[in-house]
Amino acid sequence: MRVSFQHIGNMWVGLKAVADRIGFDMVVPPITSQHTLSLGARYSPEMVCLPFKLTLGNMIESLELGADTLITIGQYGPCRFGYYHRVQEVILRDLGYEFELLKQSNGMLRMIKYFTHGASIREIFLAFRFGLAKLKALEEVERLVHRTRAIEQNKGSASQIFREAIQAIDGARDYRAIKQAKRVYLQKLKDIPTISSSNPLKIGVVGEFFVVVDPFANMDVEIELGKLGVQVERPQSVLEWLDFNPFTLLLGLREKDRSFKAAKPYLSRYIGGDGLQTVGEKVLHAKDWDGLVHIEPFGCLPEIMARNIMPSTKEQLPVLNLMFDEHTGRAGVINRLEAFVDMIKIKKKKSVELRV
């Protein structure tokens, strides 16, 4: 049995580690590319959202590589994401592929036991802990990358180091190697020559989870903002999504819970996807961010609701909305980001002058 999955950001690093630890055969689909997108878009229904097209493309590519079992996230809820796999299965069968589809909704543990041929719970637990450790290390490096990109002298050096860091952490065989890799790359980032006396703008990137964490889907919004000298704040991450820490969970300390609370006066209930969090982040960070880039796939149900509600909040924060699908042009995205950042700079300058 050759198991495969679909890409969401850098989650493959963690999943690959799990597979290595337990010792089952896993096909990592090629990193999402333009080819993946064209494959997915060709066979998708016309009005569906971008993550559907990308994950369908991943599925086709991994089936071509010889995978015969696909893991998907099948949940319930108001968002389309949980329904994807049913349509994708029909599409793939119509294309003539033979495979088995495993849904997370059937029970995560049962699913893992199935494709590992009965690994013990202890084994599975340890493997997942190892995978999570890798993701955690990766995220720590990424946070520093976000800060460094804004103030580096040679644009692009932090991104280069991040790419190397992904390789290194992916290659780590044990906890010590992960720690070692993390330390090395954090140091490398700190050593990057920076522009002195710079106080970069802080802009939050929030929106639909998949597009926010997947650099291909959002056309490297973070890198482009970094080039413009902006420090990116991104509350959503794969790790935050997988965060089961009972302490923070119970006390409601997670960013998600705090943003839900902040959104309450404007959107009083959960509407699926990340719409509630988007509204909440605007309210929550109106004071400490200079702007907010709201990104979503075209036609995203919860984010459309969020976009309708956001302008009515009392807390003011400039918002730029970007929508992505297979026809989005990179130049258009860059242009808009530049204009947005310029606007914020002018606004900031004016308010400083007024105070003087």
């Binding site: 229904p45 016309e46 009005m47 569906v48 959202c49 559907f52 319930y76 809820g77 108001p78 968002c79 389309r80 949980g82 329904y83 994807y84 049913r86 349509v87 029909v90 599409i91 119509d94 404007y266 959107l267 009083s268 209930r269 959960y270 509407i271 699926g272 996807g273 719409g275 075209f298 036609g299 995203c300 149900l301 919860p302 459309i304 609701m305 976009r307 309708n308 509600i309 302008p311 009515s312 929508m323």
Partner: protein
């Protein structure tokens, strides 16, 4: 006396008789917005971002038309009617969104129906709604029981007698109980065995698209003019819908998903000479569910299937042309088969 405004959009077609009974028994007066017009869609669309779906824009247009005519506007949130089956995001955030984009909106009567929190939670929500009218809990209880009975009668009229919501609303207002003989004689509807020579076309989609004559350019009227018997999802019992739905796509995913998947599968297998799927541009659930029905129709190759996508810019001529072509094709098939 309190005037309760009910927009003639979205869930109106499913639940209006029930809501009306409930409010009137509690001493309120119900004001319905007029049928959809072009101006209403324009006023609704001007308040929201462009890619919001058409039914929501229509809904907001109806809310705007009710401003100044009522003391409260009733916008319920149907979160979930069966365990772990949720409604689409647009429905879930509707009251909040209406308040955010229409600031001059009258106070909103908002009741959250969520079966996952238990029946007690629903009773409490209904009780809270009744508090706006009376402090007498037993009065609220009897009003809600009567309302529920009216709803069952309404469903019965549609599923067992083949009425469509506008006819059933008329029928239910003139009788107390769904009386079979009354329906047959007075309304001139012959349920049961249709003439075998008549062409049956099934329309699948949500009621707010099928029965809003302005939105779908009088589709039902046009089909009936052409001598065709129109079948709709409302004419099936909820059991029929559910079992067909499970057969095609597994457990239902969205609250009103059976209107598309269940009705599609049912009519593909029996009783229809052709199926027209009606959806709006940008509808998330339908974009996937209609695809399931379309692919099923492709594989079965027994019943022709056409989908019509509606939006603000849909031209009447385009609809007519496609409809004519579809009907020609079905007539040719029928003649060829005989």
């Amino acid at each position: 006396m309190m005037n309760i405004g009910i927009p003639r959009a979205l869930l109106y077609y499913q639940y209006f008789p029930m809501w009306k009974t409930f409010f009137e028994e509690l001493g309120g007066e119900v004001v319905i917005s007029p049928p959809t017009t072009k101006a209403m869609i324009a006023s609704g669309a001007s308040r929201v971002v462009a890619d919001t779906c058409l039914p929501v824009k229509v809904f907001l247009g109806h809310v705007i038309s009710l401003i100044g005519k009522c003391d409260y506007i009733f916008i319920p949130t149907i979160r979930s009617l069966k365990s772990n089956i949720y409604n689409c995001s647009k429905f879930l955030g509707l009251p909040d969104m209406t308040k955010a984009v229409i600031t001059e909106c009258p106070p909103v009567l908002d009741v959250i129906i969520d079966i996952n929190k238990g029946m007690r939670n629903i009773y409490r929500a209904i009780d809270k709604l009744g508090r706006y009218f009376t402090r007498d809990t037993s009065k609220v209880k009897s009003a809600s029981l009567d309302a529920w009975q009216v709803h069952l009668n309404y469903r019965h009229l549609m599923s067992n007698h083949g009425l469509i919501p506008p006819q059933a609303m008329e029928g239910i207002s003139s009788i107390d109980k769904a009386d079979d003989t009354y329906v047959r004689t007075e309304m001139g509807i012959n349920s049961g065995n249709p003439a075998s020579t008549q062409t049956n076309i099934a329309l699948i989609g949500h009621p707010y698209l099928l029965y809003d004559e302005y939105l779908n350019h009088r589709l039902i009227h046009r089909l009936e003019q052409a001598g065709i018997r129109v079948l709709t999802p409302e004419m099936l019992t909820s059991d029929e819908l559910e079992s067909a739905s499970v057969k095609l796509a597994g457990t239902t995913y969205w609250t009103y998903g059976e209107e598309v998947v269940g009705a599609g599968e049912h009519y593909l297998q029996n009783g229809a000479d052709g199926i027209i799927g009606i959806l709006t541009f940008g509808c998330g659930p339908d974009s996937l569910m209609m695809e399931m029905v379309r692919r099923r129709a492709n594989r079965l190759r027994t019943t022709p299937f056409m989908s019509l996508v509606l939006e603000e810019h849909t031209a009447e001529t385009g609809i007519i042309t496609r409809l004519e072509a579809f009907l020609d094709m079905i007539n040719r098939r029928k003649r060829g088969g005989q």
